[in-house]
C-alpha cells in the first residue's frame, strides 16, 4: 500500500502548546467552528495583535484532524470578522418590518423587550406559542435548545423552516431505529495517530453516495480524508447525478436519476444476495429480518432498476459486486438521501447494504460512534421538564416524533400554525443563526409571509440577513468563533474553542442563552456568570470516556487542544452498545434490524423501500409535459456555506453569481448559452441563475444552486437584497414531507427553463 507523503514543520513556528508569542502577535491553536462556517471544527492558528484583532489565520499543522490544511472560507475569516456589514450593538426595529430602520439599544434593553413579549405571549397562549429556530450544524445547537426548552419552556425547537428536517435528521433517525446508534465512515478519525494506528485498515472500496464531501464536509466529516485514502489505494464508486471530481476519479460512476437511490440500493442488495456475496456469519448472528429483505430486494432486478434509476444494469451489477467483495468497504453518504420524500426508505436500504456485507463497526467500514456527544451532555446540564412537551408541533402527525426519535418540532406544521392558528397560534419566533427564507425554507416567499404573522420576532445572527431585515423586531448581534469560549464535540476528537478576540458589543450564543434564561426561568439558570456556567458544564460531561486518567476540565482540554475518547471496533460483540451490557445492538431485538421493529411500531414501512418521486416524468406525465426537466438542488460550492459568505468580496470574486448546471444539448434546445441568465420555473415560482454548461448531466436534469441573496443590493423592501429573485426554493414544496414527517423532496422537483433577455444585475459593490 502507498503511504501518504509526510512533511515536517518548523517546531518553533508551529508548536504543541496551545498559545505562544511570535513577535507582536499572539498565536493560539484553536478550533474554528462557525460562524460563519460549516459543520467542521477545523484546527487553525489564530494570530492576534496587541488590540486583540485576528490579523491572520492559518491551518494548524499539529492538528491530527486536518494537519494544516484549510479551505478558502476559513482563510477569509478576518474579512468576515471585520466586514462592514458586522453589527456592533443590539437593534430595535424603528420603522415597519422590512424598512431596515433600526435603533441601537443596550443588551439590557433588548432582553427587557424579549422578556416582556415572551412572558405576555406565554401567559396568553402557553409557552408553546414560542418557536425557536436554528441553523445547521454549527455551535448554536445546545444553546438554542437551552433557550427553547429551558428559558422559554416551549417544546417547539426546530430548524429554520427546513421541510422534513431534511438535513441528516432522516438518516440519524433511520440509523437509531435500525441499528440503535449512528454510523459514520471510518477514516481513522477516532484515533490521534490516524492512518498510522495499527488497528486501522484502509478500505478497498468507498461508495460516495449523494454528496460531494470534498466541498460539503457534511455532518462532521472531512471530505479530503477520502482523498487521503484514495492516495493510499482506496477505489471509489460514486453515485451522483453530476460528475463530481470524485466521480471522475471513480472506478464506477453511477449517474442516478434524482430520488431513485432507494431502488438502486435494493437492486444492489438483490445482486449481492442472489450471487451469494453477503456475509453469512454477520447476517446469521447479528441481523434481523434477512428473509423479508431478500424478498423486498427481489422486487428490484437489474432491468427494473435500470429503468427506474437510468443507470445501465451492468454498472449497477459491477458496483454491487465490487462493493460486496471488497474487505473492508465503506459508504460516505449525504444530503441527497434526506432531500427526497422517501429518504427513510433509501437510507434503510443503504444501511442494509453495509450490514449484509459485514461492514458494520469494522476497521475501514462504517463504524458505530457512541462517543463525542458533548453537545448532548451539555443539554442534560439544562434538565428541565417542558410542561407542554406533548403538544410539540408535529407530534400528532408522527409517532416517530412523539416517541422522541426526532428532537425537532415539525416545520411543515409550524408554517400552517403561523398561517391559520391551527393546531394552535404561534405568536413569537426566536431565530438563532438561521436565514430561513434566503436559505432552506421551501416555498421561500410563503415562509416569509408566514413569519410576518408572528407578533414578535427575535433574530440573532452575525449580520443583518434578509430574514433579519424582513422580519425581526429585535436583532441580537452574535460573536464569531474566535470571540467565543467553548468546546466542540461531534464524533472525535473533543476540541477546545478559545476566545482570543472581542468584537464591539456582540455576545456569544451561550451568553445570550444564559442571559435570557436568568430572566425567564432563573431556577434553571443558577449561574451568575458565563464562566461559572462553563465550569459547571465542563465538570459534568457525562459520556466522555478517557483512558489516560486525567480529569476532564476546560483548562485540561485547552492545554491539550484535542482529546480523544476510547474507541473500540465491533462493539456489538463486546457488550458495549446496550444499557444491559449484553452483546448486540441497542435495538428491541438486539440485532441490526433489516426489518425494523421501531419503524413498524410507528406505523411506518418496516423494510427498506422505494417509491417513485412525485412529480416525475413517470408519476406525473401531464405535469412533466409542462415542466419537462428534473430539477435537483442543494449541491454546495467551495465559496459558500449555504446562504453565508455572499457578503465577502473575496468569495464573490471566485463565484459572483448563482449557477445552474445544464447539459449542452438541453441548452441548445432552449436557446441558452453558457453565461446566460436562465429563468427556472414551475407552478410554484421561479428563480434566475446563470447557465453553466455541464456535459456530464443527464440532458433531462438540471442542477441549481441554493442560498442566494445579494448583500450588495438594497436591504429594505421591496428589494430585500433580491432574496426572492435567484432563490431556488421558490420552486420547492414546504409541506410535502415523507410519511414520518421526515425528509422532503428538495432534490426531486420539475421545471422548465428559458433564457432571460437583457438582464444585467446590479454591480457587486461590496
Amino acid at each position: 500500500m502507498r503511504k501518504l507523503p509526510k512533511r515536517t514543520y518548523n517546531d518553533e513556528l508551529y508548536r504543541d502548546e496551545w498559545q505562544w508569542q511570535e513577535g507582536d502577535l499572539t498565536v493560539t491553536r484553536n478550533c474554528q467552528w462557525s460562524g460563519p462556517g460549516c459543520h467542521e471544527g477545523c484546527g487553525v492558528l489564530h494570530y492576534t495583535d496587541k488590540e486583540g484583532r485576528v490579523v491572520r489565520i492559518e491551518g494548524d499543522p499539529k492538528s491530527p484532524v486536518y494537519n494544516g490544511r484549510l479551505c478558502m472560507r476559513c482563510m477569509a475569516v478576518p474579512e468576515a470578522m471585520y466586514n462592514k456589514m458586522r453589527v456592533t450593538n443590539p437593534l430595535k426595529r424603528a420603522g415597519e418590518r422590512g424598512e431596515n430602520k433600526w435603533e441601537e439599544i443596550t443588551w439590557d434593553e433588548a432582553y427587557a423587550i424579549i422578556e416582556e413579549n415572551a412572558k405576555r405571549l406565554s401567559a396568553a397562549y402557553g409557552p408553546k406559542t414560542i418557536a425557536v429556530l436554528q441553523g445547521t450544524g454549527r455551535n448554536t445547537s445546545w444553546q438554542a435548545a437551552a433557550i427553547a426548552n429551558v428559558a422559554y419552556q416551549t417544546p417547539n425547537l426546530m430548524f429554520g423552516f427546513l421541510a422534513g428536517d431534511s438535513c441528516y435528521v432522516p438518516r440519524l433517525v433511520g440509523m437509531s431505529s435500525v441499528a440503535g446508534d449512528a454510523s459514520i465512515m471510518d477514516c481513522a478519525q477516532m484515533f490521534e495517530d490516524r492512518y498510522d494506528n495499527p488497528r486501522y485498515v484502509v478500505p478497498e472500496i468507498c461508495i460516495v453516495w449523494g454528496n460531494n464531501p470534498i466541498i460539503s464536509n457534511g455532518d462532521g466529516f472531512m471530505g479530503h480524508w477520502i482523498v487521503d485514502l484514495m492516495r493510499m489505494g482506496t477505489e471509489l464508486i460514486v453515485i451522483d447525478p453530476r460528475l463530481t471530481w470524485m466521480a471522475g476519479m471513480a472506478k464506477h460512476w453511477l449517474r442516478v436519476r434524482p430520488g431513485t437511490d432507494g431502488a438502486l440500493a435494493l437492486a444492489m442488495i438483490d445482486v449481492i444476495i442472489k450471487e451469494d456475496l453477503y456475509d453469512h456469519e454477520f447476517v446469521d448472528c447479528w441481523c434481523y429480518g434477512f428473509d423479508q429483505l431478500k424478498e423486498r430486494a427481489a422486487e428490484f432486478p437489474l432491468d427494473v432498476a435500470e429503468h427506474i434509476t437510468t443507470i445501465p444494469a451492468d454498472l449497477i451489477q459491477a458496483a454491487a459486486r465490487d462493493y460486496a467483495k471488497a474487505k473492508p468497504a465503506a459508504v460516505q453518504w449525504g444530503l441527497a438521501l434526506d432531500q427526497q420524500k422517501h429518504g427513510l426508505g433509501a437510507n434503510h436500504a443503504i444501511q442494509a447494504l453495509w450490514a449484509i456485507t459485514g461492514n458494520v463497526d469494522v476497521p475501514g467500514g462504517n463504524i458505530l460512534v457512541t462517543s463525542g456527544y458533548i453537545q448532548a451532555d451539555v443539554r442534560t446540564t439544562f434538565q428541565w421538564d417542558v410542561p407542554e412537551a406533548y403538544a410539540r408541533l408535529g407530534n400528532a402527525e408522527s409517532k416517530l416524533r412523539a416517541q422522541g426519535m426526532d428532537n425537532s418540532a415539525a416545520t411543515e406544521i409550524l408554517i400552517k400554525a403561523l398561517e391559520t392558528g391551527e393546531p394552535y397560534p404561534v405568536k413569537m419566533i426566536h431565530c438563532t443563526s438561521s436565514n430561513t427564507f434566503a436559505n432552506m425554507g421551501a416555498e421561500a416567499e410563503r415562509v416569509y409571509k408566514a413569519m410576518l404573522n408572528a407578533e414578535f420576532i427575535v433574530v440573532s445572527d452575525l449580520y443583518l440577513t434578509p430574514t433579519a431585515v424582513g422580519t425581526a423586531d429585535v436583532f441580537l448581534p452574535v460573536a464569531m468563533s474566535a470571540e467565543r469560549k467553548g468546546v466542540r464535540g461531534w464524533w472525535a476528537p473533543i476540541r477546545a474553542i478559545n476566545k482570543v478576540s472581542d468584537y464591539a458589543n456582540t455576545k456569544s450564543d451561550e451568553e445570550i442563552a444564559l442571559d435570557i434564561g436568568r430572566r425567564m426561568n432563573p431556577e434553571a439558570f443558577p449561574w451568575k456568570t458565563l464562566e461559572e456556567m462553563w465550569d459547571d458544564i465542563m465538570n459534568n460531561l457525562q459520556s466522555a470516556n478517557f483512558d489516560d486518567g486525567e480529569p476532564f476540565s476546560y483548562d485540561n482540554l485547552q492545554k491539550r487542544t484535542y482529546r480523544y475518547e476510547v474507541f473500540e471496533y465491533k462493539k456489538y460483540e463486546k457488550g458495549l452498545l446496550r444499557a444491559d451490557g449484553l452483546p448486540g445492538f441497542n435495538t428491541p431485538t438486539g440485532r441490526l434490524e433489516l426489518w425494523c421493529t421501531t419503524l413498524n411500531s410507528c406505523d411506518l414501512e418496516p423494510l427498506p423501500y422505494f417509491e417513485e418521486p412525485s412529480p416525475s416524468p413517470f408519476s406525473t406525465p401531464d405535469y412533466a409535459s409542462e415542466y419537462p426537466l428534473i430539477l435537483t438542488t442543494g449541491h454546495r460550492s467551495w465559496e459558500f456555506f449555504h446562504s453565508e459568505h455572499r457578503n465577502l468580496r473575496s468569495m464573490r470574486e471566485f463565484h459572483p453569481w448563482p449557477l445552474v448546471d445544464i447539459h449542452p444539448d438541453t441548452a441548445v434546445k432552449y436557446g441558452i448559452k453558457e453565461g446566460d441568465w436562465v429563468l427556472i420555473e414551475n407552478h410554484r415560482g421561479s428563480a434566475k441563475e446563470i447557465c453553466r454548461l455541464n456535459p456530464s448531466m443527464d440532458p433531462g436534469v438540471v442542477s441549481a444552486e441554493h442560498g442566494w441573496w445579494f448583500p450588495e443590493r438594497e436591504a429594505a423592501l421591496p428589494e430585500l437584497y433580491g432574496v426572492f429573485e435567484s432563490n431556488i426554493n421558490m420552486l420547492t414544496p414546504s409541506t410535502d414531507v415523507g410519511p414520518s414527517g421526515l425528509a422532503a423532496p428538495y432534490s426531486t422537483q420539475m421545471c422548465r427553463i428559458s433564457k432571460v433577455e437583457g438582464y444585467v444585475p446590479p454591480e457587486i459593490s461590496l
Partner: protein, 107 residues
C-alpha cells in the same frame, strides 16, 4: 533553484492555494500568484471522464520568499487540502517524481 512539485492526479480543485496566495500577498481582484486550470468535464471514451485541475504559478509567484525565509512552507503548500504540493530544491523534488500525473514548476 527551488520549485513546486504538484501531484495533480489528486488535486481536487478546492481553490485553497489561490485564496491562500491572495491573502498572503494582499493581491487585489484579478491578481493571482497561482491560478487553477480546469480540464473537462468531458467524456474521453465510453464511461471514462476527464475532470481534473492543475494549479499553475503565475508571474507574481515568488514562492513565498518571505515565509520561506522565516522557516515556513509557501502558503499554497501549507494549506493545500489534498496535500499534493511540495516545495524544495528542484533536484530533490525530481527524485520524488515516482508516479504519473505530476508536474514540476520552477516559477
Amino acid at each position: 533553484m527551488n520549485g513546486l512539485l504538484i501531484d495533480y492526479e489528486f488535486c481536487t480543485g478546492c481553490h485553497s492555494c489561490e485564496m491562500a496566495c491572495k491573502v498572503e500577498h494582499g493581491f487585489g481582484e484579478g491578481q493571482w500568484g497561482i491560478e487553477l486550470k480546469q480540464l473537462g468535464p468531458r467524456e474521453i471514451s465510453s464511461r471514462k471522464w476527464e475532470y481534473k485541475f492543475v494549479p499553475v504559478p503565475t508571474e507574481l509567484c515568488d514562492l513565498c520568499a518571505d515565509r520561506v525565509a522565516e522557516g515556513r512552507w509557501p502558503t499554497c503548500v501549507h494549506h493545500c487540502q489534498a496535500q499534493v504540493m511540495e516545495f524544495g530544491p528542484v533536484e530533490d523534488l525530481v527524485k520524488t517524481m515516482d508516479k504519473e500525473k505530476m508536474v514540476l514548476f520552477v516559477p
